[in-house]
Symmetry: C2
Subunit: 113 residues, 2 copies
């Protein structure tokens, strides 16, 4: 699944990645799945703003959503035809694990165990 993407498709993906909030979300999701309220806590931004970013990513097929209980978890869609390209783009970005660790420290991490 390493088929080269055409220029227009690639430009559209890059436009989606070319936003600080979405790019950070994608890096986070490449490390852990995450639910909406966690993103709301991580970014100083309203819940609808977060939802709208996630919707763009979902509409493009970049991310998956999965409801678990009252939460909806988002994760990178590893079966997307863009997945390997996205991995290439984000692989050297600084890990965002520290953000989730901060959430855990504040007792704001959501777990469905």
């Amino acid at each position: 699944m390493n088929g080269a993407l055409d220029i227009e498709t690639t430009a559209n993906i890059l436009k989606l990645l070319g936003d600080k909030t979405r790019l950070t979300m994608i890096k986070i999701m490449s490390e852990h799945e995450c639910c909406v309220c966690e993103f709301v806590d991580l970014f100083e931004m309203s819940q609808p703003a977060i939802s709208q970013h996630l919707r763009k990513l979902k509409d493009s097929g970049i991310v998956n959503e999965a409801r678990r209980g009252q939460w909806i978890f988002y994760s990178l869609n590893q079966t997307s035809s863009y997945y390997s390209f996205i991995q290439t783009v984000i692989k050297d970005l600084p890990s965002q694990n520290f953000k989730l660790e901060e959430l855990t420290a504040q007792g704001k991490r959501i777990c469905c165990d």
Copy 2:
């Protein structure tokens, strides 16, 4: 010079690449330098529109300009700290050499020899 870029810087670069015209220009420049009037012939777009795209790329340091005679040639700036990242992003894009070959066939290619 393979230093990882931070998220904000990367998002800004990706935003620049996330436009079909600029992404195509960058792929072309990764293969050949090119002057403004060639881009104008290649894209069905006004000369100021082309100039404005090139200015954004130049302001970010992604491309170099070099005047030769009455023409100004643009090329990928290989000394930019973003160069290797950009190469990574564009390396699998389809070659745009055919576009310059079409220009050559039409006698519209600029050469300073």
